[in-house]
């Protein structure tokens, strides 16, 4: 679809692309602050490294595998024009240069595996992690992204509502995180030893950047600069605030204290829940979704402590649980105008079934795919650090560096 470039929409999509990119250092700071001092650089690298690995993989084959026409019975996409992005040099789609759309979508492919790193923090080799994200991108992300957003994708055709990646990004990352955490096992000493954050100030700043970046994430996913964009941005803001406030209230009731880490956990719970829903719900829906997600994520983190699995930084507990709920519950808060436009045969129950199929598909693909990939990585380049190396910490063992020079006397 060639045509004139729409300057307004293009400008917003460029801004959105940059905002989503901003979420990567935001995530690195968020995760980096939560681990122990000896692992701060290694953990931040787990967020940054996909910028390079998926950053290369995406233009070579990623865009073709996700946004190409379906092949192999629709299992995956392919478009030879998208190989190395060679055929889109002059293409304009819906008023936006296709390069911009390709780069915008590429940022999603980068941040999704980075989210998973939170569940396996403090115990994996960089080489194992690097191989993991390559395989995970090719065999989990690419097909799922094609099904939900690609031309002719079967979940898209079935009418799954997922604006910015509740299934593609957060549920897939969350359940992959759980599978990887279970496969790798707990960190040495967990849960008997306290593994306290090294720098909650950095975590707070990272969460702030994530909130800002999320406007590009959700409002950019409308791929326009108009009414839908305004709605998505508004719902994103409301749900994040509602999630944060709910977490504060829960902690105040239970502990008579409000914690900074709780506050930012609430922000994330609100954001992941509204991600699939921001295009279709009204403000009251955003308020409720943020609050429900926050409460459910809080309970999920409590359950983790009881069950004893080690999702180090709560990728499953927040992204998997919060966004999964968002994908399902959004059907109860859909704007009446949207329902009217969808026609008389649209029903809440029918849509809920579609949403359940979307979430269930995501869970199965993410869990089975991740377990197989983990097994392959462990048997080839090695995934989990040896005991001695885990004790010494990623920064020293993997990078030969130190995160904080505060103890150096020179």
């Amino acid at each position: 679809m060639n045509g004139e470039v729409d300057a307004g929409t293009t400008a917003w999509m460029l801004v959105s692309t940059a905002l989503v990119l901003l979420m990567i250092p935001g995530l690195a700071m968020f995760y980096g602050g939560l681990v122990r001092t000896k692992n701060v650089l290694g953990t931040m690298m787990h967020s940054f490294v996909p910028l390079a690995i998926i950053g290369v993989l995406w233009p070579v084959v990623g865009y073709a595998l996700t946004f190409g026409e379906g092949i192999l019975g629709g299992v995956i996409g392919w478009n030879s024009d998208y190989f190395l992005l060679m055929g889109i040099d002059t293409t304009v789609t819906n008023g936006v240069p296709e390069y911009v759309l390709a780069m915008f979508q590429g940022k999603f492919a980068i941040i999704t595996p980075a989210l998973i790193s939170g569940a396996i923090a403090e115990r994996v080799y960089l080489r194992g992690y690097s191989l993991f994200i390559v395989l995970w991108f090719l065999f989990v992300y690419a097909p799922l992204c094609h099904w939900v957003w690609g031309p002719g994708g079967w979940l898209l055709e079935r009418g799954l509502i997922d604006l910015a990646g509740g299934t593609v990004i957060h549920v897939s990352a969350g359940f992959s995180a759980l599978a990887a955490a279970l496969f790798l096992g707990r960190r040495k000493g967990y849960p008997d030893t306290a593994m306290l954050p090294n720098n909650l100030v950095m975590t707070m700043m990272g969460a702030g950047l994530l909130w800002v970046g999320w406007f590009g994430f959700n409002a950019g996913s409308t791929v326009q600069s108009g009414m839908d964009t305004a709605r998505a941005l508004t719902m994103t803001q409301i749900s994040a605030a509602s999630g944060a406030l709910t977490w504060l209230i829960i902690e105040a009731l239970e502990f008579r204290r409000a914690t900074a880490l709780g506050f930012v956990s609430g922000i994330l719970a609100g954001l992941v829940a509204i991600t699939p829903a921001a295009g279709v719900v009204h403000p009251a829906g955003a308020l409720v979704l943020g609050a429900i997600s926050s409460g459910a994520c809080y309970l999920a983190l409590k359950a983790k402590a009881r069950l004893g699995y080690d999702d180090s930084l709560d990728c499953f507990g927040i992204h998997g649980v919060g966004s999964g709920l968002g994908v399902l519950l959004l059907v109860f808060f859909i704007r009446s105008e949207w329902r009217a436009a969808a026609g008389t045969d649209w029903t809440v129950t029918g849509q809920l079934v579609t949403q359940i199929i979307g979430v269930a598909t995501t869970i199965v693909l993410a869990t089975v795919g991740t377990l197989l990939i983990c097994l392959l990585v462990e048997k080839t380049v090695g995934f989990r650090l040896s005991d001695r190396e885990e004790k010494a910490g990623l920064d020293h063992v993997v990078h030969g560096e130190t995160g904080y020079g505060l103890m150096n006397l020179n």
């Binding site: 030893t193 306290a194 306290l196 954050p197 829960i250 902690e251 239970e254 502990f255 204290r257 914690t259 880490l261 709780g262 956990s265 809080y298 983190l301 409590k302 402590a305 709560d314």
Partner: protein, 114 residues
């Protein structure tokens, strides 16, 4: 000469320091330290009460001439308590013999250098 080492709560540092200065003891060295004591202090992380492996405290090293030993101990003990009766985790005071003190600038040795 004695070396008095006091491990106290960080939040009592200002009171202890001011009390020492008021008692005429102004030469002190302060550092951060961590360790195991009788105290168990939980932090709250994502809804989990968590007890750190090592508890942070502040360490004071005070070199005194013998006649100042008791007043230093008294002052620190009084000022470092968090309640009238004191509570677990308020810290400890260790006294050791100090063999020699040398002032670096002029080389003076002994009690006068303190």
């Amino acid at each position: 000469m004695k070396m008095i080492t006091a491990i106290i709560r960080g939040e009592r540092l200002d009171e202890v320091r001011e009390a020492l200065v008021a008692a005429g003891i102004s030469r002190i060295t302060v550092s951060r330290c961590t360790g195991h004591g009788r105290a168990v202090e939980a932090g709250l992380y994502r809804g989990q009460e968590t007890v750190p492996n090592l508890t942070p405290r502040v360490r004071l090293d005070i070199a005194v001439n013998d006649e100042f030993m008791e007043i230093t101990i008294d002052t620190v003990q009084r000022a470092a308590r968090t309640t009238e009766a004191g509570s677990i985790g308020d810290g400890k005071i260790f006294v050791t013999e100090l063999l020699l003190c040398v002032r670096i600038s002029d080389g003076e040795r002994g009690g006068g250098a303190i």
